[in-house]
Amino acid sequence: MLILHCPCCGVDADETDLHAGGQAHLKREGPGSSDDDFEDYLFMRENPKGVHFERWRHVYGCGKWFHAARCTSTLEVFGTYPAQTLEPPQEIKDKISAKRPGWSWGTFQ
C-alpha cells in the first residue's frame, strides 16, 4: 500500500484513494511531428529499477493530478509536487541526488 502526500490538498492518501497515471513529464507531439517523435510520445516509456517520476491523481480526494518521485525497487518516496511543471523541482532533484548519487532519468539528473 503506497501512501503518497497529495501536494494539492495536503492529505496523506492511501493508494486506494489514488489513480496511477503512468510516466510523468511526457512532451506532447501533435500534428506536424515526425513518426519517430510521435511514436516516442505515444509508446516509449522509462522502465527503471530505481528513481522514477510518475503521475498520480487524487481521484477520491481533491481530484487533482500530481507527480511523485519514487524508487521503484524500495518504494521510497523522494517527494510529490504539483503537475503544472515541465520538470521536477530542484529541491526534489537535490533530495534524490543525496539519496541516489549519480541518478539519471530521461533528460533529468
Binding site: I3, G32, W65, A83
Partner: protein, 1003 residues
C-alpha cells in the same frame, strides 16, 4: 492416556463445565480450554488424518503453528473447515468433525496410502501424471480432485457479519508476550499512539508457563501490573485475540481480530480486519519450537516439548503418564521438570548433545530423572498412539540400545524466531550458527516511504531467547519506535529479567545422525503434507537445488500451517544434501497472512446487498416496481425491457420497439454523462477534445460530437450543447460520465494548465427522460409550458423553461430516428416528472422502453454505439464518420495518430449493414470467413458483426459489422460463421435500415 490433572491449569475455570461434541460424541471441558486441551482431557489424542498417506494425526503443538489438529467447525451457516484445535477456544455447544478420512477417523481406507508410500515419493504427481497425456483429463484429474483438500467447503451462506477498521498509529506492537508488553509500555510512556495486538486470549506469551522472575516478581505478577498500567494509558489500545497478519509497504499492516469465535452468543461482527497505517511496527512475535526428525516422529503422542508443558500448566492436561523427553537444548528440560513436579513419570531425557551443563539439567537430575547424553531416538513405537521409544546413539546409524515404554514423547530441536512479519515487506535474516536459528538482521530492515526502516523486531523474535535480554530488547524497541515516530518524552527504566543458566544448543537435523533410508523415510518434516527427510533428499538428488523448487516439488511447507514447524528442518536437510551452508540455501518467502484469516473478514461489510454499490436513477424505483428486467451497465442497473405479465423478455422488447415507432415511448436516460465546460478558453478546449468543431456551435444549438484518444481510437460520443457564450454542456455515454470527466481534467491540469476552463460533472443533478415517437409533441403540449413546436424548437436545438410545472431543459435530439425530446429536470423532480409523463401519455399509447429497444431503434437507423461498433481499436474512419473529423482545425486529440500508416490503410475493415439472406438474426461477434488459412492454420476472416438484433419493425434480423472494403461491396453476399460450424449467407447493405431519408425525426 491423556487426562485432566488435579490442581493445575491456570487458564481454565473448573467451576464452569462446557459441553461440546467431536464426531458426534458428547464431551465436556472447562471454560478457558482450547478445543485441543479439551479433546486431550477426554483422551482424544487422534484428531485427524494427514493429507497424502492418511496417517493418524494427533495434536503436536499448543498454538498457531499446529499442523495436525484441524477440524470442520460448526454446522450449516456457521460451518468453517480447517479450524486449528489449538487456537479454537471452547464454548458451550461447539461441534467439531475431524477431516480427511473415510469412513471414520479410527478406520480410514485412505490409510492404505501409507503402505504405498514407497510408490508415492516426492514429485510423485509430476512423475506419474505426465503420461499418457490423454489420462490427465479422464483419469488423473478426476481422481486428484476427489482426494484434494482437507476440510469440506461450506455449503450455506455465512450467517455472520464482518467489518473493517481503519486506523493510524505511531507504533504498532505485534505480540503480547513480555517483550511486546515492554515495548508497548516504553512507547506509550513516550507519548506515542500505540496499538498492541496479541493473537491468543491472554497476555504474557511463554513467560507465564516458563515463569522467570521480572523486576523481582513472578512473570505473571509483572505481566498483570504491566497490562493494568497499559490499560490506564489513553494513547494505548490493547487487543487480545487479534493477530498481526501482514506487514505491507509504507507501514500498512493488517490485524485480524476474532471477536466472537470464542463466544458466538455475543452477537456483533465475528471478525474485524484492522487496516492499520503504522509509522513504526514492533514485531515481538516470539519463537516456535522445532520438532526433531526421527523415525515415526509423527505418531500421535509425539509433541513439541513446550506444548507438553503448556497443556499441563495452562489447562491442567497431561498428554501421557510416561513422557520421554528428547532434545538438543536445555529448554526442553523445563518440560521434564514440570511433568515430574506434577507427579507424572519421566523415565528418560534423551539429549543428543555429547555433553551439556546448566541449571535446568542440574534441577532435572536433582529430581531423579534419568538423562542419557549423546543419545537419540532410533524410532518411536506404536500405531495410533505412542507405546515406546527405541534408544540409540546419536552419532550412529540407529542400532537399538534399549526400548523404553512411554505414551508421550516431548521433543525439542531448538527454537525458530517468528520472523514472518519482519520478512513480509523485505526484512532480511542472518543465520545465527551459535543459537541455530535465522534471526532478523537489524541492518536490513524493511524500509518505508522515507527510506528508513519501519519494522523493529524485539525479544525472542529477535533471537533473544532469555528473559533478561528479551524484555530489555522489547523495551528498547518500543523506545526506538516511539522516537522514530517523533515521540521522545521520558519514561520509566527498562524492566530487568532473571534467567537460569543454560548451556548451548547443538544442531540436530536428523536423529540418529547416520539414519538409514528406512528410518529417514519415516522421519517426518511436514506432518500435514507427509513430507519426510527422504523426500527432501530425493528432491536434492534430482536437481531441485533451490529451496523454492524443493518446496514445490515435495510440498514441504505448503500445508495450511505454511511450514511453521517444517521449514527450517527441511532446508537444513536440503543444505546437507547439497553440501551447502544453511544461509546459502536460504528460506522460502514469508508471505502474509501469518495464519489463515477468514475470506469474509477480507470482504468486511461487502456482502449481500452491500456486495457492491448499485447506482439508482430517480426513476429506478418506478422501473423496478413496473416490470423492469434490469441489466448491469457499470454499477447502474438499467431496465433492459419492461416486461408485462405473460410476456417473455423478447415479447416485451418487440412490443416496445413497435410502440415507440408507432405511438410513444419513454426512456430513462438519466445515466448519460453531463459535463459542464465553462470559461474563456472552453471553446478552444472542446475543439481539442472533440474531432469536430465545437467552438462555432451557436448558443441554443446541439451538435453530435466524437472523441478520440491521443492514439486515434474512438473513445466516446455524445451531443454537445452550447448553453451560453462561455458555457457548453457535453453529454457522454453512460460509461463515459466519470472517465471523460477525468480525461478532461487530465488535459486541463497536466497539459493546458494555463487555459481558463472549468469542468463540472453534473450527471446526477438531472433526471433525463427521452420522450420518443410520433406522439411525443402531443404529450408535451398536453402538459403545457414551453412551446415545443417544430418552429419554436427545431431539430438539434434546445430550450430551457417549464414542462408542466417542472423546471426543464428540453433537447430536441434523437437517437431513434423518431420525433424525440430529451428532457432534463432536477433529479429531485425526476420521479414525479416521469409519473406525470406516464399519466398524461396514456391517451397517446405511451409505454416505457428499455435499453434493448434503445439499441434496436438506433441500429435500425445505422447509428453507432460506443462499445458495440467500437472496441478500442476502431477509428472514426472505420465507421464512415469522416464528416465529423474537422479539416479546419490544426489539432485535436487523435488527429496526428490518424496519419499513422496503419490508420490510413485502405484495407481496414469498415462499417456496413448486414442482412442474412434467410432473414435470421446473426450471432453476435460472428466473423465473416475468407478464403484460405493464416500462418497459424486458422481460417482467414474478412469482417465481424458488431451489433445484431431482431427488428420487429422490419420483421427480420438486422446487423452492423466491420467488413474488409465493405462500403465498396454493397449487395455482395458473404458468409458469417456460427458456433455450430455452419455459416450464414449474408448480404452487405447500407447500415440505415429504416427511414433512410430521416423524415420521421425532423417533423
Amino acid at each position: 492416556m491423556s487426562t485432566r490433572l488435579a490442581g493445575q491449569g491456570r487458564l481454565i475455570n473448573k467451576d464452569k463445565a462446557v459441553s461440546f461434541t467431536f464426531n458426534g460424541k458428547h464431551l465436556r471441558g472447562f471454560e478457558g480450554d482450547t478445543l485441543a486441551s479439551a479433546l486431550l482431557a477426554n483422551d482424544q489424542m487422534l484428531m485427524g488424518r494427514s493429507f497424502k498417506y492418511h496417517r493418524p494425526r494427533g495434536v503436536v503443538a499448543s498454538g498457531a503453528e499446529e499442523p495436525n489438529g484441524l477440524v470442520n467447525l460448526g454446522t450449516g451457516a456457521a460451518f468453517e473447515p480447517n479450524a486449528r484445535v489449538t487456537t479454537t477456544e471452547l464454548f458451550d455447544g461447539l461441534t467439531a468433525q475431524s477431516q480427511n478420512h473415510w469412513p471414520s477417523l479410527e478406520f480410514d481406507v485412505g490409510a492404505i496410502n501409507t503402505h504405498l508410500s514407497r510408490f508415492l515419493p516426492a514429485g510423485f504427481y509430476y512423475k506419474m501424471f505426465m503420461y499418457p497425456r490423454s489420462f490427465w483429463k479422464h483419469v488423473y484429474e478426476p481422481i486428484i480432485r476427489q482426494s484434494a483438500g482437507l476440510g469440506k467447503a461450506p455449503k450455506d451462506r455465512d450467517q455472520d457479519t464482518y467489518e473493517h477498521f481503519h486506523c493510524s498509529v505511531d507504533v504498532m506492537v505485534v505480540g503480547g508476550g513480555i517483550a511486546g508488553l515492554a515495548a508497548a509500555k516504553a512507547a506509550g510512556e513516550r507519548g506515542a499512539r500505540v496499538l498492541l495486538v496479541e493473537q491468543t486470549a491472554d497476555w504474557g506469551g511463554r513467560a507465564v508457563v516458563d515463569t522467570p522472575e521480572i523486576d523481582g516478581v513472578s512473570a505473571e505478577g509483572w505481566i498483570n501490573s504491566t497490562v493494568q498500567a497499559l490499560e490506564k494509558m489513553p494513547n494505548v489500545d490493547l487487543r487480545l485475540r487479534c493477530m498481526g497478519a501482514g506487514v505491507y509497504d509504507h507501514g500498512y499492516t493488517l490485524a485480524y481480530e476474532r471477536l466472537t469465535d470464542h463466544a458466538p452468543d455475543l452477537g456483533g461482527p465475528r471478525h474485524r480486519l484492522w487496516r492499520v497505517r503504522a509509522k513504526q511496527i514492533v514485531t515481538a512475535t516470539g519463537a516456535i519450537e522445532r520438532p526433531l526428525s526421527f523415525a515415526a516422529n509423527d505418531l500421535p503422542g509425539v509433541m513439541l516439548a513446550s506444548a507438553v508443558r503448556d497443556y499441563v500448566v495452562n489447562f491442567g492436561v497431561s498428554i501421557g503418564d510416561r513422557t520421554v523427553v528428547v532434545t538438543n537444548n536445555d529448554d526442553a528440560y523445563r518440560t521434564a521438570i514440570i511433568l515430574k513436579s506434577a507427579g507424572l513419570d519421566v523415565p528418560l531425557i534423551v539429549d543428543a548433545r555429547a555433553q551439556a551443563e546448566g541449571d535446568l539439567i542440574d534441577q532435572a537430575r536433582g529430581l531423579g530423572i534419568r538423562i542419557e547424553m549423546g543419545k537419540g531416538i532410533a524410532k518411536v513405537k506404536g500405531g495410533k498412539r505412542v507405546t515406546g521409544v527405541a534408544l540409540c546413539a546419536q552419532a550412529g546409524e540407529g542400532a537399538v540400545l534399549e526400548e523404553i515404554a512411554c505414551d508421550c514423547v516431548a521433543m525439542s530441536g531448538g527454537w525458530s524466531p517468528v520472523v514472518h512479519l519482519w520478512s513480509h515487506c523485505g526484512g532480511k535474516l542472518n543465520w545465527d550458527a551459535d543459537q541455530v536459528m535465522f534471526r532478523p538482521d537489524p541492518e536490513r530492515a524493511p524500509s518505508g516511504a522515507d527510506g528508513e526502516g519501519f519494522v523493529i523486531t524485539a525479544g525472542i523474535a529477535n533471537g533473544h531467547l532469555f528473559t533478561a535480554e528479551a524484555i530489555s530488547d522489547g523495551w528498547a524497541a518500543g523506545r526506538a519506535a516511539a522516537k522514530a515516530a517523533g515521540h521522545t518524552k521520558r519514561g520509566a527504566q527498562a524492566p530487568m529479567g532473571e534467567d537460569a543458566f543454560e548451556g548451548p544448543i547443538s544442531p540436530v537435523w536428523l536423529m540418529p545422525q547416520g539414519a538409514n533410508h528406512a528410518l529417514r523415510s519415516k522421519a517426518w518434516l511436514d506432518f500435514q503434507n507427509d513430507v519426510k527427510v527422504s523426500d527432501v533428499q530425493l528432491a536434492a538428488q534430482e536437481g531441485f537445488e533451490s529451496v523454492e523448487h524443493t518446496k514445490r516439488y515435495t510440498t514441504l511447507g505448503m500445508a495450511t500451517d505454511q511450514g511453521k514447524l517444517s521449514n527450517i528442518n527441511g532446508l537444513a536437510i536440503l543444505s546437507q544434501s547439497l553440501n551447502a551452508d544453511i544461509p546459502n540455501v536460504g528460506t522460502t518467502t514469508f508471505r502474509p497472512p501469518y495464519t489463515p484469516i477468514s475470506m469474509s473478514s477480507i470482504a468486511g461489510a461487502a456482502k449481500g446487498d452491500l456486495f457492491q454499490p448499485v447506482r439508482k436513477t430517480p426513476v429506478s424505483d418506478w422501473s423496478n416496481a413496473n416490470g423492469a428486467d434490469n441489466e448491469p451497465v457499470g454499477q447502474w442497473r438499467r431496465p433492459f425491457a419492461y416486461v408485462r405479465d405473460g410476456e417473455s423478455v423478447h415479447d416485451a422488447v418487440n412490443r416496445e420497439v413497435k410502440n415507440t415507432r408507432e405511438n410513444l415511448g419513454l426512456l430513462d436516460a438519466s445515466t448519460l454523462g453531463k459535463l459542464i465546460v465553462k470559461g474563456p478558453d472552453a471553446g478552444k478546449f472542446l475543439d481539442m477534445m472533440y474531432t469536430n468543431m465545437m467552438s462555432t456551435l451557436p448558443i441554443g444549438k446541439c451538435r453530435y460530437g466524437l472523441m478520440c484518444s491521443e492514439n486515434g481510437f474512438l473513445s466516446d460520443d455524445g451531443v454537445v450543447v452550447r448553453m451560453s457564450e462561455d458555457t457548453w454542456l457535453c453529454h457522454t455515454t453512460t460509461g463515459g460520465a466519470e472517465s471523460i470527466h477525468a480525461h478532461m481534467e487530465d488535459w486541463l491540469q497536466c497539459e493546458w494548465w494555463d487555459w481558463k476552463v472549468y469542468v463540472a460533472n453534473v450527471t446526477e443533478q438531472y433526471a433525463q427522460i427521452a420522450v420518443v415517437g410520433p406522439n411525443a409533441r402531443k404529450l408535451l403540449r398536453k402538459l403545457g409550458g414551453m412551446d415545443v413546436s417544430a418552429e419554436a424548437l427545431p431539430f438539434m436545438q434546445w430550450r430551457e423553461g417549464k414542462i408542466g410545472d417542472f423546471d426543464a431543459r428540453v433537447f430536441r435530439i434523437s437517437f431513434s430516428g423518431e420525433l424525440s425530446y430529451e428532457i432534463a429536470v432536477p433529479a429531485g423532480q425526476g420521479a414525479a416528472f416521469w409519473s406525470a409523463l406516464m399519466e398524461a401519455g396514456q391517451e397517446f399509447g405511451i409505454m416505457p422502453y428499455g435499453t434493448e429497444t434503445l439499441h434496436i431503434l438506433r441500429a435500425e437507423k445505422g447509428f453507432i454505439m460506443i462499445g458495440d461498433e467500437t472496441d478500442g481499436t476502431v477509428i472514426p474512419q472505420d465507421l464512415n464518420l469522416q464528416w465529423a473529423l474537422s479539416k479546419k482545425k490544426e489539432d485535436y486529440l487523435g488527429k496526428r495518430a490518424h496519419l499513422r500508416s496503419h490508420m490510413a490503410d485502405p484495407e481496414r475493415w469498415k462499417l456496413v449493414g448486414l442482412e442474412t439472406v434467410d432473414g435470421s438474426v446473426l450471432p453476435d461477434g460472428a466473423y465473416a470467413i475468407a478464403d484460405g488459412d493464416n500462418a497459424n492454420g486458422q481460417r482467414n476472416t474478412q469482417g465481424r458483426v458488431t451489433s445484431t438484433y431482431y427488428s420487429a419493425n422490419l420483421e427480420r434480423g438486422i446487423a452492423m459489422g466491420l467488413v474488409l472494403k465493405g462500403p465498396e461491396r454493397m449487395g455482395e453476399v458473404i458468409e458469417f460463421n456460427k458456433v455450430d460450424g455452419t455459416t450464414v449467407p449474408t448480404k452487405i447493405v447500407d447500415p440505415v435500415f429504416y427511414d433512410k431519408e430521416g423524415e420521421k425525426q425532423n417533423v
